[in-house]
Symmetry: C2
Subunit: 315 residues, 2 copies
Amino acid sequence: MTKELVAIALGGNMILQKGQPKTYEQQMKNLRLAIEVIVDIIKQGYGIILTHGNGPQVGNILVQQKAGVTRGIPEQPLNICGAMSQGQIGFMIQTALEERLFDQGIVDKCVVAIITRAIVDHNDSAFKEPTKPIGPFYTEEEAIELHRKTKDSYINDAGRGFRKVIPSPIPLQILEGNTILRCVKEGDIVIAVGGGGIPVARENGNFIDIEAVIDKDRATDVLATQIDADILMLLTDVSNAYLNYGKENQKKIGKISIKKMKEIFDEGHFAKGSMRPKVESAISFIEHGGRLSIITSSKDALAALKDKAGTRIVK
Amino acid sequence: MTKELVAIALGGNMILQKGQPKTYEQQMKNLRLAIEVIVDIIKQGYGIILTHGNGPQVGNILVQQKAGVTRGIPEQPLNICGAMSQGQIGFMIQTALEERLFDQGIVDKCVVAIITRAIVDHNDSAFKEPTKPIGPFYTEEEAIELHRKTKDSYINDAGRGFRKVIPSPIPLQILEGNTILRCVKEGDIVIAVGGGGIPVARENGNFIDIEAVIDKDRATDVLATQIDADILMLLTDVSNAYLNYGKENQKKIGKISIKKMKEIFDEGHFAKGSMRPKVESAISFIEHGGRLSIITSSKDALAALKDKAGTRIVK
């Protein structure tokens, strides 16, 4: 029925960019632009699973949680804030996408947003070394005091101030995978794995409360592999991954074999926290049987599917 | 495969009761109790769709939204807060339910939470007369000032202070109905229609931003009717609807025909805002082809399904 199954990860800054007003209106404006290419891809007949970041949104929710304490509302834990952001962003994407579909005369598609959880191992070494900054900024003095009180870790985040850091464990499995696959096979456009999924860990059947955040590109790879998707597409600001990025001799990476891409990866060409997790996820997808991994911008996404743009990793 | 399809609406106070601490831990404690009977019903082989209120949670989110403004985070509109609460509560129910299922040796069920929207008519007369109090309490002076600034309506809510009131329009259709039905038919336990669904209205294909809240029992009826469920079960504090409730001659209503129930309804036996919308929804479900509507407590839910307790409305 559908041509091929594509899991597409929307970059977090496609919904809210640094410095923009954090309003609903601004986010919808950004999303309406961001989803244009998604509708173009839908029109090509692909089955679509759409995943997304939640960094700015969950950051805002965390600030609101802290502010609410002064008015008698206790803070909810991070996993709850993540679940909230999935509802928030899922609904916004639904709205933007269905309007655009209607506008383009496509009225037989249902866009569904599914609350998604990702299983992690609570013995993942990431829990010993938290690395991912989240939430509000503090002064050094405040951070020291907070660390003393809570034992949470704080770091100086790129000179902008001190922030709490939490673990970013590897996602092992998407709990809603079967449901997501079933929906997309029946023609739904599925929004899932928001913010990398809500991390959960089990011990003797019970869920353990954990405070962590999962890289959305890694989680999208895990889902795509799990449901046997054909294509993994990681959207970002740039049209391609680069050799020697930012240097004089930088060079776009176009179509490339998994073998060659792994060599380049091992040479350390990709910046940690930015292109590196994307390339890692893209490689992993092919290694686990995927047909094509794409890293590109929204602008070049359609051309990339037609093998004419973007970084395309194949067997 | 499954015996019959039951749409079960959990009362809002099953998740958080008035006066209880508004913490995650308290809500999970309540939910772990509330879902015991759901697992008992699952064990009987029924297909389950679980809906829920969101009053206390969305109330808390609204307070946090207002508090966040002082720290630079603009308030998100009510529909976004509703979507957030669906994520929050959906995830909490998943957690509680899957733990209990595991505990009972049921490991072949996936509990999925689906962000759910309900179509309303933006010409619904409810928009002319807002009736549903939401969010924080204000003094009379504050309410007058807020009304002057925003044109929002405020009422004195049962002597507890002034609150904003918003419209509660009739839900016409659940947009995710097909997906929900498909999931439950395949054996998923589906959490949907949280807080009555996010109200949406369309005009020329575009969604109109509306500020409203939908009665969750009405929305559950609409979903149950739409997907041809067999049984509508509305859970509440009391085991039955009553004739002359609270009076000396009060009398439990047990099994009753739709004809007789409508007569009683028309006599005005049911309190507005409490039992009345439940009875209305229960009647509507049978009128639209449902086999059985149940109004009862968690404690009596299983017995009610076996025709031994609760108010049971039939053809």
